[in-house]
């Protein structure tokens, strides 16, 4: 597995798209720190980019990478190597390179340009952690979709729709539901609905970390109370980890059985 991981990781390191991704984060972070002058404001703007763009890029990149390396994968499958290590190796390779581009792309300018207080560093690390988890989630989803759909166009469409659903449509349905049942107490519902969607969960927990709870009134207080407890932390982190594990295990299971 490590050999394949190493192979696909170095393969991706040679790809210019990885560098584009890295440079994108670096320029955006440097620009935000430079222009806004305020680190807290820069982190808030980065938040928007992280929770929307990381899922999109991870999904698309995952799909493209999986399809492009399908011939190589088939070649590997003919060798006496365990399927599990081939696919897990590829997944880890892609995840590591994307996560590294993202982490370095933000950290390098932050180290050189940001004059942070300790609290802001903690916020930034929380943001980086969430971004890494989102990368892991959406590359796993992309791989699962790509493996199940041999038709590339169809696979592509499904991947984009998945992203669109989680990033946009889910919230639309959420609002419609809230408006429809506005006469009922909805704190619990909105809490559960938030935890179920990795993008919403990431965004909300980050906003709460950035002290936006005050703006959110009573709901914010309820959320803050939930996410503030160790129980809430545990629930939200395990929700995100489940979002990594679910698609990944599904992917490995399909991969183990699939007739190539």
């Amino acid at each position: 597995m490590w050999k394949i991981f190493k192979y696909s990781f170095f393969d991706l390191l040679r790809s210019r798209w990885t560098y584009f991704y890295f440079l994108f984060f670096m320029i955006v972070t440097a620009g935000l720190l430079h222009l806004s002058g305020q680190v807290a404001a820069a982190i808030t703007s980065l938040l928007n980019i992280v929770v929307v763009l990381i899922p999109l890029i991870s999904t698309l990149y995952g799909i493209v990478y999986f399809y492009n390396s399908s011939e190589f994968t088939e070649l590997l499958l003919a060798q006496p190597v365990r399927r599990r290590s081939i696919f897990l190796g590829q997944y880890l390779g892609l995840f590591t390179s994307l996560a590294a581009s993202f982490l370095l792309g933000i950290l390098i300018p932050a180290i050189f340009l940001g004059h942070f207080e300790v609290r802001l560093w903690l916020d930034l690390f929380y943001l980086l952690g969430i971004g890494t988890l989102l990368t892991a989630i959406f590359t796993a989803i992309a791989f699962l979709i790509a493996l199940r759909q041999t038709n590339r166009m169809k696979g592509f469409a499904i991947a984009i729709l998945t992203w669109l659903f989680l990033a946009v449509l889910y919230d639309g349905l959420f609002i419609i539901f809230l408006l429809f049942f506005e006469d009922y107490p909805l704190e619990k519902f909105s809490l559960i609905a938030t935890v179920l969607n990795p993008i919403d969960l990431s965004r909300t927990s980050l906003l709460l970390k950035l002290d936006m709870a005050a703006l959110m009134g009573y709901t914010g207080a309820v959320f803050n109370k939930f996410f503030g407890t160790s129980m809430g932390m545990l629930v939200s982190i395990s929700a995100l980890v489940l979002w990594v594990a679910g698609p990944l295990l599904g992917f490995l299971r399909v991969a183990a059985r699939k007739d190539f």
Partner: protein
């Protein structure tokens, strides 16, 4: 040798006063007198009581004749956690340069460092108050002055703490250059008219930086209200003028730059509102002029409920607020015109400095949040941005008549609030 007559007049005047006994004596506490009470007992009206450095353990020092209590090098008056420190019950009393500390918390009586009861022409100036339950408590008093005092409390719980400067049924008082920290309310007024509150700093108080009710015709100039538990709340008053104040960092789930409730006919201008959960919250407030203020980085810059009518909001700068305006009504009767909105994306073809397309400061999302507060969890969601964008293009849900018909293209250049202090 002849003296010019001009030279002689002052001597004549002094001589006349001396014969009348009107030149004040100076009584020295810490030298001739061991305590302030002793000196007061022998003092004649109009005398000056000089208090020299030392610690005086005295409480309930009652001043019932016109005189001046003058501290030299901040002598300490320690009330020993018993009663009021000083009670003024006469007109024309001055208290200058004392350091008063340790007034007891009492749940029955409002004990204070300096308690002014039904007096006129008082002058409380340059004192340091420390750990006093109430700082300066003015009761049915008028025509006086409270200036340059530093009032620092140790309030932890709202219910067992007092206000730094408390005015009750007062009239024509100047409260200026004071510093009020760590009390329940920084400056509190009830039933007090014609008060001038100028250049005070009210910071880190548990509840309100400034709190008044039923107090009309008051002026608030160049004060700083910062990081107070609930910001500033003002209610049931008319004809107030607030200019060049700073309302900063009042951030919390029940915190406001200013909360206006039943405030009529006032002027709020040239103030800075920065980093507050809600810059100005208006409820049943009518005929206010809100002009030339800067609103930056607030949660809501303005939250004006449907019960507010005939307010004019003009020439303000709204910069980087999460929501510029929030309201719960679909119809509204306030006028928004010629403000600068940093989120305005319109154009100005005729280059007259005014945008050609009206700006609608109420976003669809803030409208949804008014209906279902829980929807706030979707703050900064991509869907919300899309929703706001569509609504901006074709407004359907947000108040039809709430818009700025002449949005400024550049921030309005107005007088800045005081940055000193």
């Amino acid at each position: 040798m002849r003296f010019p007559i001009r030279f002689i007049i002052p001597f004549l005047v002094i001589a006349t006063f001396q014969t009348l006994g009107a030149v004040p004596d100076t009584l020295e506490v810490g030298k001739k007198y061991a305590s302030i009470k002793q000196a007061l007992a022998t003092a004649a009206p109009g005398d000056v009581i000089k208090v020299f450095p030392g610690v005086y353990f005295e409480n309930e020092v009652i001043i019932d004749k016109p005189c001046t209590l003058l501290g030299v090098g901040y002598p300490i008056l320690d009330a020993g956690l018993k009663n009021d420190a000083i009670i003024i019950r006469a007109d024309s009393v001055s208290i200058i340069g004392l350091h008063i500390r340790n007034v007891a918390t009492n749940y029955v009586r409002d004990l204070a460092a300096i308690h002014v009861e039904e007096a006129r022409h008082f002058n409380i100036q340059d004192n340091k108050l420390e750990n006093t339950f109430f700082g300066i408590y003015l009761q049915k008093s008028r025509d006086g002055r409270v200036a340059g005092n530093s009032i620092i409390g140790q309030a932890v719980v709202e219910a067992s703490s007092g206000n730094a400067i408390h005015l009750w049924y007062c009239k024509n008082v100047e409260v200026s250059n004071n510093e009020a920290r760590h009390h329940r309310d920084g400056i509190y007024l009830e039933f007090s008219d014609s008060i001038r509150i100028v250049r005070n700093v009210s910071q880190d108080n548990l509840r309100y930086g400034l709190h008044f009710m039923f107090s009309n015709y008051n002026d608030y100039f160049e004060n700083t209200f910062q990081s107070n538990g609930a910001g500033v709340a003002v209610m049931f008053s008319a004809h107030i003028v607030m200019k060049r104040n700073r309302f900063i960092d009042n951030w919390g789930s029940a915190s406001y730059g200013i909360l206006l409730k039943e405030i009529k006919d006032g002027i709020i201008s040239n103030n800075l509102f920065q980093g507050n959960t809600i810059g100005i919250y208006g409820e049943s407030s009518d005929r206010m002029t809100i002009s030339q203020n800067d609103f930056t980085e607030n949660g809501y810059a303005l939250r004006i409920l449907g019960s507010c009518r005939d307010n004019i909001i003009t020439e303000n700068n709204f910069i980087d607020n999460t929501f510029d305006v929030g309201t719960n009504a679909t119809r509204q009767y306030n006028q928004y015109t010629r403000n600068y909105w940093s989120e305005y994306t319109g154009y100005d073809l005729d280059k007259n400095g005014l945008g050609d397309v009206p700006y609608r400061p109420v976003k669809l999302f803030s409208f949804v949040v008014e209906k279902v507060p829980q929807a706030i969890v979707l703050l900064r969601s991509l869907f919300v941005d899309l929703m706001n964008f569509t609504e901006k293009v074709t407004p359907v849900f947000t108040p039809q008549d709430l818009f700025d018909d002449q949005p400024l293209m550049k921030p309005h250049p107005h007088d800045q609030y005081s940055t000193s202090s």
